[in-house]
């Protein structure tokens, strides 16, 4: 077995209103003068596990991301190894 570590970044799709990001933008404008500010808010998950090979590891992390870490109706994710 080999050890793998993946980072999964989840964020709302661009078509979904990101209310937390809007709140963040408002706070930034209250903090400092910034032009053309654009924020997106998401979650970062770091996951370590063991698998037979990279193919199995990819299958495991994709299953976790699809079923637990994200909701495909409103969110999208990227996997970084």
């Amino acid at each position: 077995m080999n050890e793998f570590e993946a980072v999964v970044n989840v964020k709302l799709k661009d078509t979904i209103k990101d209310i937390k990001a809007q709140t963040l933008e408002q706070a930034v404008h209250n903090l400092i003068s910034v032009k053309n500010l654009k924020c997106r808010v998401g979650s970062r998950y770091s996951i370590k596990f063991e698998a037979k090979d990279k193919k199995e590891a990819e299958h495991i992390i994709k299953t976790i991301a699809d079923e637990i870490l994200s909701n495909s109706v409103i969110e999208e994710y990227e996997i970084l190894w």
Binding site: L12, I16, K17, I19, K20, T23, S43, E67, I68, L69, N71, V73, I74
Partner: protein
Amino acid sequence: MVKAGIITFLGTNCERDTKQALDFLGWNTEFIWQNDKIEKHYDVIFLPGGFSFGDHISSGRIAKLTPAVKSLPVGKTLIVGICNGFQILTEAGLLSGALTYNENLHFISKVTDLVFQNRIIRLPIAHHQGNYTGKNGEDVIMRYKINVNGSDDNIAGIYDRKNKIIGMMPHPERAVFKELGLTDGRKVFEFIKNEI
């Protein structure tokens, strides 16, 4: 007598309210634990409100993986999700769309006017993620008179008639006893009873 099952998850907190309301209405109720497969027959199964698994990751996300939810008799028995139960049903893909954070990011807890069966009823709402989007095919059975949370088309409740699945954010179980000041929840349970 209507036989109702009420699924209880870690973090559920409306199961007793639901049971007391249904018992008062003369229904035969019992709890179903999240880790038990549903093998008995019920006329209707409720997924009650609360904070299943502490709302971790997202509301309803973890509960959808429990044996009770995975063994729901979809298409055979009427299934009703109230508040967190509605969130669980959308996360499980049993109802379309998703419930995201309220537009003002507040946890909203108040009595709200709703349009239900062409009349106005008053029910409590209490949620943080009740902003519904992405309906695909279900009938709308309940709308907020004033859009309190940013939901598409003021949607508060939907019904997949083909698969017999209802989801709603308001709490009818908190509006059954006249001592609590509201009784319009009885109209909702009457509707549910007629759909069995």
